[in-house]
């Protein structure tokens, strides 16, 4: 220890910080009174305020940032440059290809397709791989954002075997390491056709996918199979997150497949037919309008269902009273819905009834009771008399659609 300890002179320190001004005394507390402050033991004292000031820069998004690595000047340079040019990842010389065959309903990537590309990125980024999206035309930017590197357009035929033949030609040209397909209705069929045709190994309905391992359920869902990857794989929905990273740049494909000769047409698949909502099965219906005991005017209710082009439903009490057929009962002892939207007219929302709404996403409730359970479940709740609302609803729909609707 130092024998002589310097004593601080607070008055002198204070005087050194005095700022000349008019009238009142002002002190600048952030100013350093001496060139370098030493502690009583002789060590240099830190000045946290000054240090902070030196580290402070403006970040990319305009907010204050502390850069502690001492690269202050460079940091600001980067932030201004990157704000101007959007950087895209380019995979120029891939070691291998991963072919992805998304469903592309309505020509756009859906949720499952994005997840599929996310999974493909996982596999491609394990090495230096490029993802080739094979499908009917889609806009390149959305594919790039989803993580694709190349696009290969594919004809959209009605014969699934012709699609398989095209894919076989693609696989021969690119010899991809893996082909990824969603385990959706169309994708599941395509993957199995491809597996039977090419005799390549298939792992369908994968739930966990890593660069080395895939896990899929089997044995009636009581067991799971875990093992290495296969050339053909289909991915179960909502298992692998979509690609969240930087956008990829779509580059032209190095090799193009030789178009295959016409295949013998042995089957044709026609355009999809949606069923008549008035008579379709309640459990499959996408849009259900249901009546509870709050509905007394069933003529008006039936007219509303017809005008909305929906499938009719009812609570148990209504079916018990004979106002609606038993087949329309929604709930624990009736039908469990798979609908997108459910409109409840005068239904209280008893637990046995709400059980029937298991998978329904959106609920609209019309009820006179603000505290009904159905009202708290609803995305749009209308506290009004159903008998008053239904005829007006019919009028509005009739005015808007005229005679165009059946």
């Amino acid at each position: 220890m130092n024998a002589i300890r310097l004593r601080r002179d607070p008055r002198a320190e204070r005087a050194a910080r005095l700022v000349p001004g008019n009238g009142r005394l002002r002190y600048d507390m952030s100013a350093t009174p001496y060139e370098r402050m030493t502690s009583p033991s002789g060590r240099l004292r830190r000045d946290p305020r000054a240090e902070r000031q030196r580290l402070l820069t403006t970040g990319r998004d305009g907010r204050a940032r502390l850069v502690r690595s001492g690269l202050v000047g460079q940091m600001t340079g980067i932030s201004t440059a990157s704000a101007r040019t959007v950087k895209k990842i380019r995979v120029e010389k891939p070691e291998f290809f991963i072919v992805v065959v998304p469903d592309l309903p309505d020509g756009r990537l859906d949720r499952a397709d994005r997840q599929l590309l996310g999974a493909a990125r996982k596999l491609a980024d394990g090495g230096e791989g490029a993802i080739v999206v094979v499908g009917a035309a889609v806009d390149a930017p959305s594919l790039g954002q989803a993580g694709a590197d190349r696009i290969l357009p594919l004809a959209d035929g009605s014969d699934p075997d012709a699609r398989v033949a095209e894919l076989v030609a693609v696989m021969e040209a690119l010899s991809p390491r893996h082909v990824l397909i969603p385990e959706s209705e169309e994708g599941a069929d395509l993957a199995r056709r491809l597996a039977a045709r090419t005799r390549l190994g298939l792992l369908p309905g994968i739930e966990v996918l890593g660069p080395k391992q895939a896990i899929r359920p089997c044995g009636a869902g009581r067991q799971e199979w875990a093992g290495g990857l296969a050339p053909l794989m289909t991915l179960a929905p909502d298992r692998v997150p979509a690609w969240q990273g930087e956008e990829h740049e779509i580059l032209p494909l190095e090799k193009t497949p030789v178009p295959s000769g016409p295949v013998q047409a042995r089957m044709r698949v026609g355009a999809i037919r949606s069923p008549d909502p008035a008579t379709m099965n309640l459990g499959d219906a996408p849009f259900v309008v249901a009546a509870g005991r709050g509905v007394t005017d069933f003529e008006s209710f039936r007219a509303t269902v017809k005008a909305l082009h929906a499938t009719p439903g009812a609570s148990r009490v209504v079916c018990d009273n004979g106002d609606m057929p038993r087949a329309t009962q929604v709930g624990a002892s009736g039908t469990i819905l798979d609908a997108l939207c459910y409109v409840a007219m005068g239904i209280a929302g008893a637990p046995q009834h709400l059980q029937g709404l298991g998978r329904v996403e959106h609920v609209v409730a019309v009820n006179t009771d603000l505290h009904a359970a159905m009202v708290s479940r609803a995305g749009l709740a209308i506290i009004a008399d159903a008998q008053a609302v239904m005829p007006v609803l019919c009028e509005i729909l009739a005015a808007e659609y005229g005679e165009k609707r059946p």
Binding site: A196, G201, W225, D238, V269, L308, V343, I382, I383, A384
Partner: protein, 258 residues
Amino acid sequence: MKAVILLSLGIDPVSGRPAPVPGEIRAIGLARALGATQMIGLHAGSARSVLAEYGGYGLTQIVCLKGGETDPVQALADAVKGNSLFADGAPDLVLAASRGRGGSDMGLLPYQLAQALGWPIATDIVAPLEEPTAVGELLLAQSRARGAVKPVSVMLPCVITVPDTARCVPAFVFALQRTTQMDEQTVTVHSAPTDEGVGDNGMLRPYRRRPKLISGASKDSGGGQLMVDPEPHEAARAIVTHLRALGVLPDPDQAPEA
């Protein structure tokens, strides 16, 4: 029409005990609906007592190919082509479930069989479509999400797979099960050419339930809009706007489907 129904050894997903596969039961019902006059159940493997349960659903003759389990595709294809099943010629239809239940559950076997036979395969068929078709063709309804169907026309002979959701479930009659005739034939198949890529490098273990990703936008996006005692007109307008935002009601200028 002569139909062959492919039967596999299923298990019950809850108890794990042997049980018929739902899709195969429905395949029996669909074969009836398609007007099959003769039906034979075919299983690649030795005879088991569970298979007799299919008899209760109306399949009173079942043939088991003992020794065929080493390469079921080959064994089944040989049996179907070999004309030994029916007295008067080859079958017109082969029906199977879309997915097995209890084995690998890949649903790949019907496709491989169709490939081996050189027949077309129509999948996820729930019913025949009652519309005129060319001779030697079948018009079938392929099931799609939310009750929609796609018409599929396919040349005979063909393979058809039936999903668990089909509604053509035949009634179970115990007396029929008791009269079911089970034949066991011994077949020899050349050892299976295993598919490239999927080796025996995997392992089986009890299923572990893993959480699914949460669907981001699927929660009620309306944010719980509440209208207390609105004018009826105002209320009806709000309902129409809300339904349109959800996409269940088409826009008025758009011509709705006929």
